[in-house]
Symmetry: C2
């Protein structure tokens, strides 16, 4: 058996033929079409579990298709790839907004719980409006070394405290632990902040849902779906690309990533508690964090790099594929998750700041939103630190 | 020349005679009396620079006298030491309150500047009330890696932007950068938060000043001063203590410190961004941070250990004293400074939370106070991290 480097992205490994790209794109296109059918069968109007799962699969395949067309464009029919790649990005982007609202609300309510020193699994409790039911938000495990959480009120309905994610199809009530008239006005503030965020983000989610439905019914989307259907059976390669090597375009994607990472302030990020992320926390600018943009850009480039590696690995033959360096993939995934957290925390902080601009809110509500905003900006800083650690400890398949 | 261990606190070093303690206490008592005289001559009623400097010297010597009587009590007249040590602690504690208010206000205004992304040396600007002048608070150097600070408004009076610390005897205006009607309501919030904190902490400082003056004129204080005057010429040792070794009581102080540090959650503190310090940031309890208490206790024990080392080192003969391990002293000082920051940030966070409970404040003010509170609690967490690093990298003369 010939000696072959186990990592096809490594320069010493042999060339990866364009057929691997064709296989990859056809498989992703088939997934896209299957997800689209599942989404339609689940009933596009209802925000059911199947519908959400189908939308997730649709986003996933659209992202990979778009990335594949972008990264390997030199090997593909140029006009076709340049036209379809952004359209697929539009599809995944449009579908992502609704999920983003749901995740952001959950993140913010969890943070409100944590900041209130709430018990790990707060029970349900009747709120002032009575008819609402509080979702049992599963708070993060108590941080080791913190002081013991204060004893929360006993669940008003002890049978109803089974762990469940925040219900996104019903209006979420303020976190259950924040009820009780004897708990002082700051706690009321946290509860009111939660209710305000819930209203605003649920409204945004509903709007995003409508927008996504409209998009899926638009002629623009039908044109995309038609092109993906063609792609599922035939990939339009560039003339003479059938015998080309996939590694140079993948290496270019990797280089774009390493260049962008090199421009990040990693020395600052690696020094804990540098307070850089909150430096404009009280800025009057509604979008006061231009410092976030390079990190968001690296997040996208890291994703392109990961997807390009997927293509190369799927193109390697059996034993080589099995021997693909799982450690590098794991480190890349961890780095990507840190940048996802960075994006999520930055958007959650912006949502808290946005909610604080609501006219006529109570001071206690605004105070809680301020604490929440700062907390999320510190999560931004923590995510940068985590990314720097991932990047430093591994070469992440970039060399 | 006999081999002698250069560190008199080391078990291998020779005994340190009680005469060193006598010298130390007499010297500190003399300093106390000199500072008291300077304070009276400076005019006790006026908050002048000399008066503040004399109060600082009075606190400094009272702390060391009290610590010496406490740590070396086995070698001293027991009833006398047990009675005088707390009285001296009362003197230094009473005098410290005023200084604490000043430092807290300065810390909070600096943080408001930093959080607003203010330029390093904001200029002066006319405020709404016109008559006030804004102090040019020297903001910390811009954190490397942060985005560039937004261009502030040009100083209204360009000649007046010389760096100066926050004036504490005049009413400080909101930070200068926060003026200008076009800067959105959150900036107004930061300005109002600064003005509110200024009012509240200036009032507290004024009250503390009066309390300190009353204390210095009280018969209780005169009794303390009389005893210190006696101490300046004669130290009442316990029977048979003249030939005793100072090292065992100093070692006991060291052991109390190491035991208290061992009980701290140092593993959590050493893991950056553990979010432990803010876990009760939205708790309804006005004093929601019982987790701080063990750290405050370690701060006091570390000070006792440092002062005991001062006594032992002053008792060592010439060459040994010169060879005292400066690295250990520097590390101890750094650890103590981290715990001072811990205390200062915890108290500043409490002051921000307290200000947010003021009735009828604007939501924007409350929001800024919330951000400020969270920021200071993160400083608490950062200080714990810094302490853990100091403690880990050095044995700090405790072994």
């Amino acid at each position: 058996m010939a000696q072959r480097h186990p990592d096809p992205t490594h320069p010493a490994a042999g060339p990866v033929p364009a057929a691997a790209l064709e296989r990859h794109l056809r498989a992703r296109a088939t997934e896209f079409l299957r997800a689209l059918r599942a989404h339609r069968e689940a009933g596009a109007g209802a925000a059911t579990g199947e519908s959400a799962e189908a939308a997730r699969a649709l986003r996933r395949s659209a992202r990979r298709l778009s990335a594949g067309l972008h990264t390997f464009q030199p090997l593909l029919d140029r006009d076709w790839a340049q036209a379809l790649s952004p359209e697929l990005a539009w599809v995944s982007g449009t579908l992502a907004v609704e999920h983003g609202c749901t995740a952001r609300l959950e993140r913010l309510l969890l943070a409100l719980h944590r900041l209130s020193g709430a018990p790990v699994f707060p029970g349900q409790a009747a709120t002032a409006s009575g008819a609402r039911t509080a979702p049992a938000v599963s708070a993060p495990a108590a941080v080791a070394g913190g002081s013991p959480a204060p004893a929360g009120p006993p669940p008003a309905r002890p049978g109803a405290d089974a762990p469940a994610r925040t219900a996104t199809t019903t209006t979420a009530a303020p976190p259950a632990v924040l009820t009780g008239a004897d708990r002082g006005h700051l706690t009321v503030g946290a509860a009111k902040a939660g209710a305000l965020l819930d209203r605003q983000l649920t409204l945004a989610r509903t709007r995003a849902h409508s927008t996504a439905l409209q998009a899926l019914g638009s002629s623009r989307f039908h044109a995309v779906a038609d092109q993906v259907a063609v792609l599922a059976s035939e990939v339009p390669l560039a003339p003479g690309a059938a015998h080309a090597d996939l590694r140079p375009p993948a290496a270019a994607a990797r280089d774009r990533l390493t260049d962008a990472v090199a421009a990040l302030p990693l020395v600052t990020a690696g020094s804990p508690y540098n307070a850089a992320a909150l430096i404009h926390g009280l800025s009057p600018d509604p979008a006061p964090h231009p410092q976030d943009a390079p990190w968001h850009q690296v997040r996208l480039l890291l994703r392109l790099h990961r997807y390009a590696r997927e293509v190369l690995h799927s193109g390697a033959d059996g034993p080589t594929r099995a021997a693909a360096p799982a450690a590098v993939d794991a480190a890349l995934r961890a780095a990507g998750e840190a940048l996802d957290r960075h994006r999520d925390a930055a958007e959650a902080a912006a949502a808290a700041a946005q909610a604080a601009r609501t006219p006529r809110i109570a001071p206690a509500t605004a105070y809680a939103l301020g604490v929440l905003h700062a907390d999320q900006r510190h999560e931004v800083e923590a995510a940068r630190y985590a990314f720097q650690r991932c990047w430093r400890t591994e070469d992440l398949g970039t060399s």
